[in-house]
């Protein structure tokens, strides 16, 4: 019996090794095809998104000054990172970083890759930490959804892929580099046009609001804070129509969209008061 079992083991090992060889060939072939196909029509990678985001941020800094307030900036980064860790993409290639723009304009920008800019005017609109977290959650959702990157024209990216090619070289010759820089520049323009002039689509905004509700609830913030923020933005609509108000859909519609989608959470009043107290201390209110 022993020798029988031994023979069966040998046979299985033999068959398995044969199978492995065949599988190897099959996998090799499959991956070669996948690689070639993906290189020919692949989407923008996380690393490329990061470089686009940096350029978008650099361009925005030409129009908006950076607020030099390390204490407040650190606070906003703590809130933002807490929310980001509760998103479906807690890690991006370069990480999440939150900057405050020194302007009264009510606005916020999600640069692809993870840099998020919020204006002093927008921060002042918030009444407590949960509301500030809601604004940041909405921007984090845009990054998670790759909404900024999506605004790059397909034709531009297709052209980029022809220059990038399928070769392994990481360094481009001068001719290819000039072409690629022009495409890069065009891509930055596409993203900025969406961020500053046209805004995202209504569908993208609704999706970002809906995701923001989930992030807030998971992080322990009150998701109703987003509703409060939208109501405040709606009130601002009557006063002006610039910045965020210009590029976002009608706030009444956004309110209607999320009203029945707010997750139920247990509200810890004491914790909320503690958060509001530290918010007031950072904002010197």
């Amino acid at each position: 019996m022993r020798s029988k079992i031994f023979s069966i083991i040998i046979l299985i090992l033999f068959l398995a090794s044969c199978k492995t060889m065949d599988m190897d060939k099959a996998i090799d072939m499959t991956f070669t095809v996948i690689q070639e196909t993906s290189k020919a029509s692949r989407p923008i990678s996380d690393e490329e998104e990061y470089f686009v985001g940096r350029a978008v941020a650099a361009r925005l800094f030409q129009s908006y000054p950076l607020l030099e307030n390390s204490r407040l900036t650190n606070y906003v980064n703590l809130i933002g990172n807490t929310v980001a860790l509760n998103s479906e993409k807690p890690f991006t290639y370069g990480g999440y970083h939150f900057a405050i723009l020194d302007t009264n304009e009510i606005n916020a920008f999600a640069c692809p890759g993870g840099i998020i800019m919020i204006t002093r005017g927008m921060i002042n609109l918030a009444n407590n930490e949960d509301e500030l977290a809601a604004i940041l959650a909405h921007e984090i959702a845009h990054i998670n959804n790759r909404d900024g990157i999506e605004s790059i024209k397909q034709a531009r990216w297709t052209e980029a892929l022809t220059v990038i090619g399928t070769k392994a070289a990481k360094q481009y010759g001068s001719e290819d580099l000039v072409k690629l820089v022009n495409i890069f520049e065009g891509s930055i323009d596409d993203v900025l046009k969406t961020l500053v002039v046209n805004g995202y689509s209504r569908t993208q905004e609704y999706a970002a609001d809906e995701k923001a509700l989930i992030y807030l609830a998971k992080a322990g913030y009150n998701p109703e804070a987003l509703l409060n923020v939208l109501n405040k933005l709606k009130a601002q609509e009557r006063i002006s129509n610039t910045g965020f108000l210009k590029t976002h859909p009608d706030n009444e519609d956004r309110i209607t969209n999320i009203k029945n989608k707010i997750p139920e959470v247990n509200t810890d009043l004491k914790a909320f008061q503690n958060r509001t107290a530290r918010f007031n201390s950072y904002l010197r209110r």
Binding site: I9, I12, A16, T20, M23, D24, I27, D28, F31, T32, Q35, R42, I44, S45, D46, E47, E48, F51, V52, R54, A55, A57, A58, R59, F61, Q62, L66, T73, N77, L78, T82, E88, K89, P90, F91, T92, Y93, G94, A99, I115, E129, A160, I164, A169, K170, Y172, L177, L180, V181, F184, E185, S187, K218, A219, G220, Y221, A271, F272, N274, R275
Partner: protein, 155 residues
């Protein structure tokens, strides 16, 4: 005896399949860490960087149990790209799946393109962008912040 034989055979098949195939993953964030537990603030066992290839041992929710340079621990699923390749394929320079990922990642809009763009437009405020990228909330600060605010520690 039949039961014994079936159990032995099943065990052997499982053993063979686990030996024949290894799951390798590539780190896709600039830096990251391998933790002792599958939690965001678990103790750090090793630091990894973009392009590092690690071996996936199992899955635990949003985390992979991995091995990297003889260190075993956990890394979040969004910090890596998972590839299933045969052992022979891993060593096969012709196929080079992991290698392919790395070279692909270094292509396209990369540091060379950014440098050329910056040279073309020296007025761009990349100095401020670099400063913003240095804004980093430390783990210790984040944990204190979350606890003090009665928030939920991410898992």
């Amino acid at each position: 005896m039949n039961y014994r034989l079936i159990i032995t055979l099943t065990f052997l098949i499982l053993l063979i399949s686990s030996v024949a195939f290894a799951e390798t993953m590539t780190v896709i964030t600039k830096t990251n860490v391998i933790r002792e537990t599958p939690r965001f603030f678990g103790p750090v066992k090793a630091y990894v960087k973009y392009g590092d290839v690690i071996e996936a041992l199992s899955r635990d929710g949003d985390w992979f149990r991995v091995r990297f340079r003889n260190i075993t621990g956990f890394i979040h699923k969004t910090a890596v790209e998972k590839r299933t390749v045969s052992v022979s394929a891993t060593n096969n320079q012709r196929t080079g799946v992991s290698e392919g990922e790395i070279t692909l990642a270094g292509k396209g809009f990369n540091p060379q393109v950014e440098r050329a763009y910056r040279n073309k437009y020296p007025q761009m405020r990349y100095d401020l962008v670099d400063r913003v990228e240095r804004y980093n909330a430390s783990e210790a600060d984040l944990v204190s912040f979350i606890r003090a605010g009665g928030l939920t520690e991410p898992r």
